[in-house]
């Protein structure tokens, strides 16, 4: 089945989210959808998935103009979307999740459990993965959950599979396995639409690509005609110089000391220092315990043992308030769930960590709140229409800027950033990197967690590698390279 968009447009009020975009998804080929955040990728996916109906242009299925009146229509036509964070029923078995909505039954309407398992097993085999259909879905890694979703899509005979940034939360080996699955899907004649911010991945995996910029159509065609640099230029509309502009800074005194920090079953005996002006990166696989270490340092989780010292003074464990009073700021991993109150306005989010500073006798001074948000919106070049708009309407990159404003307005001495550029566009990414570099130059101690090795290598003065909850390697900027870090992180023949 071939699905194509012909000059499709879609507006929301005055905002033109898509303008005359055309692309063709061909059976047996993987098609990359590229663009900065806010370029219109999500809208395009939702048009294909039947969530939005286009205002102009046509949706063609095997050349025939078609209308998807609802997501159910799109599903029935064979279009399935695998979202970045799958939504499975945790308490049901994997097999039941795969069969959800279309359980095989025996005579009399009883669910045929054996047939259901067999079906799941067959699908996993087709995909070349090994997941036990009998186990509950709860506790599966994000990567496995995505595979269950893919199996579910196949069980309903999906011929077009859309993957919305599937690799953003995956580790290296998981990405490799997913690529294998995409290969298997192609072999079976499915068309795959693949959204990713990682250009190298796209070149490895996809045959075709479409580039969007600010809702407009830029380019669509076979990737063999393009180079990675060329694609990035198409996406941002300009040349990208200095993606990682870390300046050299003379490190100052020790700002943050972590001593033998332990949380049982999560991480063990973690000790390190961060000095003023230094960017220390925690590298490792997803699930190695890096974010958990950061959470314990900030006090959102209470450690079972060990201590955290700021400029020599021990801070009360398990108290974000105490960490903040000591000058620590924390840009968390999941900005939509942990970093922001999406329904609240931009200004309220920017002020949320500074309520006490913005108040007199417990009464909030709204003028102070507004000017804080306005100042930081200018400093960080936030793109917004009104500060009273809910932060949820902003693009991912701009949302991240609000989280940064929220913490930078407190003028932290120590800043912890967990995946600071995950899921944000290339242009904003460079801005965030420049900002972190400037902060370090001003003497802020930065602890950065990142799953993107180029980011780690480009930004960090020093790299610590975490594996299974323990620190297993330390590299200076000069020593660090991709191979050493991956070896330490995976534990394959260290050296």
């Amino acid at each position: 089945m071939e699905v194509a968009l012909a000059e499709v447009s879609k507006s929301f009020g005055a905002v033109r989210a898509l303008r005359e975009v055309s692309l063709t998804l061909t059976p047996g080929r993987a098609h990359a959808l590229l663009g900065e955040n806010g370029a219109g990728k999500s809208t395009l996916i939702k048009v294909l998935a039947g969530v939005h109906r286009p205002d102009g242009g046509q949706l063609l299925v095997d050349g025939e103009p078609t209308r998807f009146a609802s997501p159910a229509d799109a599903k029935a036509a064979g279009v399935a979307v695998i979202y970045q964070e799958p939504t499975l029923f945790g308490d049901l078995s994997v097999a039941e999740n795969v069969a959800m909505g279309r359980h095989p039954t025996r005579r009399g309407g009883m669910v045929d459990t054996a047939a259901m398992r067999e079906q799941a097993e067959l699908l996993f085999e087709r995909l070349g993965v090994d997941i036990d259909p009998k186990r509950p879905a709860r506790g599966l890694s994000i990567a496995d959950q995505q595979l269950v979703e893919i199996a579910k899509a196949l069980s309903s005979d999906a011929r077009v599979i859309i993957m919305d940034e599937p690799t953003a939360a995956l580790s290296g080996t998981e990405v490799a396995r997913l690529f294998g699955v995409v290969g298997a899907l192609r072999e079976h004649g499915a068309a795959v639409l693949f959204v990713s911010h990682r250009i190298d991945e796209v070149f490895e995996l996809c045959q075709d690509a479409t580039v969007l910029r600010d809702g407009g159509f830029v380019w669509s065609g076979p990737l063999s005609e393009q180079t990675p640099d060329g694609v990035v230029r198409l996406m941002v509309g300009r040349d990208l110089d200095a993606l990682f502009p870390k300046q050299d800074v003379e490190a100052g005194d020790t700002a943050l000391e972590v001593r033998r920090l332990t949380r049982e079953g999560v991480f063990t005996d973690v000790s390190f220092d961060v000095r003023a002006g230094e960017i220390l990166a925690l590298a490792g696989l997803v699930g190695a315990g890096r974010s958990e270490i950061a959470r314990a340092v900030f006090g959102v989780d209470k450690p079972d043992g060990g201590e955290v010292l700021v400029r020599g003074k021990r801070i009360r464990p398990g108290s974000p308030g105490a960490a903040m009073a000591a000058g620590i700021g924390f840009v968390p991993e999941d900005r939509r769930q942990q970093g922001l109150v999406l329904a609240a306005s931009i200004e309220r989010n920017a002020a949320l960590a500074s309520l006490n500073r913005l108040s007199r006798l417990g009464f909030l001074r709204s003028s102070a709140e507004r000017s804080l948000a306005r100042d930081w919106a200018v400093k960080l070049q936030l793109k917004f229409s009104r500060l009273t708009d809910p932060v949820g309407v902003l693009s991912g990159g701009n949302q991240q800027k609000v989280v940064l404003a929220k913490w930078l307005s407190r003028q932290p001495k120590i800043l912890i950033v967990d995946e600071p550029t995950r899921g944000i566009d290339v242009g904003t990414k460079a801005e965030v990197h420049r900002l972190l570099s400037e902060l370090a130059a001003q003497g802020v101690a930065i602890l950065m967690i990142s799953s993107e090795l180029p980011e780690v290598l480009g930004m960090a003065d020093r790299v610590l590698v975490v594996r299974e909850g323990r620190l297993v390697g330390e590299f200076s900027r000069a020593e660090a390279d991709e191979e050493r870090i991956v070896l330490a992180a995976t534990g394959v023949a260290a050296g």
Partner: protein
Amino acid sequence: MKSLLRWESALAVLLVLVVVVGSAATGGIFLTGRGAFNVGSDLAVMALIALPLTLVIVAAEIDLSVASVLGLSSALMGALWNEGWPLEAILPVVIIVGALCGAVNGFLVTKLGLPSLAVTIGSLALYRGLAFVVLGDQAVADFPDSYTQFGTTPVPGTWIPYPILLFAVLAVVFGLLLHATTFGRAVFAIGANEEAARFSGIRVKRIKFILFVLTGAVAALAGIVYTLRFASARADNGTGLELEVVTAVLLGGVSIFGGRGTIGGVILAALVLGGLTDALIVDDIATEVVKLVTGLLLLASVFAPAVTQRMSRGTP
């Protein structure tokens, strides 16, 4: 924010409608001083409890034990009066016991992490049971006139009931607390996204605990008002009132999912609900029908935001 304002304007229109139609149907209960006094006295108790409960629901929790705390405080008042305590000593004790009831709810919710719906259904039964343990099924009705006048006579020279005066003062206090203080801002953040609030250094558990304590204390205060208004302390006072209070809060535009709502909306909703109830009762409509109307309003106020949201999103 805009949709909230629209909601409040709709409530204001509804209020005018209730007053006009209610007056016509009842021969003007809202127009005579005596009638207005009665309506005000009747709705004051419910409206008082709606104030702290608004904050609880904005924080995405619930307290269904409020009417039982009211009953317990009424029973305790009667029992201590029978013991010969002076009312000057009884009143603070009753309010402290109410705060303790709230603290127990708060402890179970914040320290043990239990869902407030389950906890307060439990304490709804528990506190009502305690009320009967304290006073049995007797009624204590020999409170001195100097006190019961608070509930039975208006402010001199006007037809304003004292309880409404008390409500007005507390409405300003809770309105400022929710809308003008950092505490209120934190309450909204907790209700909209508790995890993000915690990651912003907000002391989520402490704030929730304080909200439950405040609710218990105000429910006990409402119990005192109720007892003085009817000059009768009974263990079954205010049975089922929690339904009306929750209806007022939700009709006021507070989201049952937390994170949204205004004290102004809840004040309007309390007036609408109280006025409507009294108009129906004066019009000799059976109390079953009054219950039915309350129930329908409760459903409508949960239903309406969902519908308007869908319409504004433009999808069916």
